[in-house]
């Protein structure tokens, strides 16, 4: 397990998992340092050839959905037309910082992965989708590669608006096509018809960095870390109860307590981020960093956010703040989401305050059930997952609020939210 914090960029290596860190170098690497460490890009010389290695490695997408990467590659490679390959660096979850850190410290690993994935699917174009004001390291890395002639495909940068759904796959395609970053509905999938109607491969930047390593060191090396079902390492953004935020590179299956030693003494763990799941702390302290384990408890890794809420905060207050943010981040395209999420958020705000009406919890539960599965994208479902698990885990606090008491002694917000709320239509482009 390796930790990199904003203050301390010195990577520490856990002796139990040799060979870590894989992704995060001790200091940001320019092209020369990167090539000295990893050697030249191992182009395979022909489309398709890398896909078998990615399959044997068992790599899954690190953007949140944990979909088997080789299947996406294979579908795009076999689709009709010349594909477009896109590196998705629009990390839109306010609590997640792992992609930004990766792009800052190991941009060449991501860009290697983009070139290799593009070759694997036979892509004619490559794009890098980033938030406005993204790290200048990655832009400098692109310039270094252009000067050195490392890349076979020129990479065009596309800008993502500062919205929660900007990195959603269909929203990304719409944005790159020149439209707003709004989710689309239905078939065909972007793997068959995406950007400009071409088959489109969208991979999270961390996934691409793993591909760059698998291409060099092979599937057996990749599987030396992680579990049999979920091989490899992953980046996780971890919030300790004292509020300190650290990005870890950890083998999948690592005990959560290794990253959060005082987890058992906290109130609850938010696993997976704002579309994730609250878990009671005593239970969370027994779990490991893998979907196989977390799913048994109704949770999942998502994009790797873990936040341990300290005992002095109000979990309902935290949930209400995030619910309000998520309601504001609805694209407003689908009736149930547009109508339901603001109502759910208002109910959560009331439950977070003193003496909520007794029917407010039932209202929240009813609206949660009503919006589930009825959006073009996953946003209502993810929001409901977050809200429902909060109502379950913070049920004792809810009882206290109904009696007019709140157990929190610290009113400072814990989970990070962007300053101000997006308000205008232009924010989508």
């Amino acid at each position: 397990m390796t930790a990199v914090t904003a203050e301390d960029r010195t990577a520490r290596t856990d002796p139990r998992t040799p060979g870590l860190p894989r992704l995060l170098p001790r200091t940001p690497e320019d092209l020369r340092a990167h090539l000295a460490r990893h050697g030249r890009l191992p182009y395979r010389g022909h489309p398709g050839l890398l896909i078998g290695d990615v399959k044997a490695a068992g790599l899954t997408g690190r953007g949140g959905a944990a979909f088997p990467t080789y299947r996406k590659l294979a579908v795009v490679a076999q689709a009709r037309g010349r594909p477009v390959a896109i590196a998705n660096g629009a990390e839109s979850e306010p609590a997640s910082h792992k992609d930004a850190l990766l792009l800052r410290t190991a941009p060449h690993l991501v860009l290697d992965g983009l070139q290799l994935a593009a070759e694997a699917v036979g892509a004619a174009e490559a794009r890098l989708y980033l938030h406005r004001g993204a790290s200048h390291e990655v832009l400098r890395a692109l310039a270094e590669r252009a000067a050195a002639g490392t890349d076979r495909l020129e990479v065009t940068v596309a800008e993502a608006p500062p919205r929660f759904l900007a990195g959603q796959e269909t929203a990304l395609v719409s944005r790159i096509d020149g439209g707003p970053a709004l989710p689309r509905f239905g078939l065909p999938r972007v793997s068959e018809r995406g950007v400009g109607g071409a088959p489109t491969l969208v991979q999270n930047v961390e996934t691409l960095a793993h591909i760059a390593l698998i291409a060099r060191y092979g599937p057996r090396w990749f599987r030396a870390a992680g579990t049999a079902a979920e091989p490899g390492t992953m980046l996780a953004t971890v919030y300790r109860p004292d509020g300190q935020c650290t990005v870890f590179e950890a083998a999948i299956g690592t005990p959560l307590r290794d990253m959060l030693p005082d987890l058992a003494g906290t109130q609850a763990l938010l696993a997976g981020g704002f579309h994730g799941t609250w878990l009671a702390a005593p239970r969370a302290a027994q779990l490991t960093l893998d979907n196989e384990t977390l799913r048994r408890h109704g949770a999942s890794l998502g994009a790797g956010v873990l936040a341990a809420l300290p005992p002095d905060r109000c979990g309902l207050g935290e949930a209400a703040r995030v619910a309000r943010y998520l309601a504001a981040e609805s694209a407003g395209q689908c009736g149930p989401c547009f109508n339901g999420l603001p109502r759910i958020a208002a109910a959560m705000a009331e439950l977070a305050g003193p003496k909520p009406r007794s029917r407010t919890r039932q209202d929240a539960e009813r609206w949660a059930a009503l919006v589930t599965g009825r959006g073009a994208c996953h946003h209502p479902d993810g929001t409901v997952q977050f809200v429902r698990s909060a109502l379950t885990v913070f049920a004792p606090e809810l009882d206290a609020h109904q009696r007019g008491r709140c157990s929190a002694s610290n009113r400072r917000p814990f989970l990070p939210l962007p300053d101000g709320m997006p308000a205008t239509e232009e924010d989508w482009v």
């Binding site: 989710p183 689309r184 509905f185 239905g186 078939l187 999938r189 395209q333 689908c334 009736g335 149930p336 989401c337 109508n339 339901g340 009503l370 599965g373 009825r374 959006g375 073009a376």
Partner: protein
């Protein structure tokens, strides 16, 4: 919403699907086909995910044609 991309049903059967982005909540569908469609408290349709029974297929087709937003479809499976 049932995952329509992976769902498998008996051969030849059809299911109603709504495009939630196109749907404007007119409520015509819930009025015409209350057996399979109800309106939520905001007027948006809640659709029975099961295959349309043969006895209702003609009604279902009429309802699809009547949607002012062209948001309702009958899909195989």
């Amino acid at each position: 919403m049932v995952d329509y991309q992976t769902r498998r049903a008996a051969a030849g059967s059809q299911t109603l699907r709504v495009n939630p982005i196109a749907c404007t909540g007119h409520g015509v569908c819930a009025e015409l086909l209350p057996e399979l469609i109800s309106a939520d408290e905001w007027g948006y349709p809640i659709i029975d995910p099961r295959p349309v029974p043969p006895a209702l297929e003609a009604e279902a087709r009429k309802t699809v044609a009547a949607c002012p937003a062209l948001a309702l479809r009958l899909v195989r499976g």
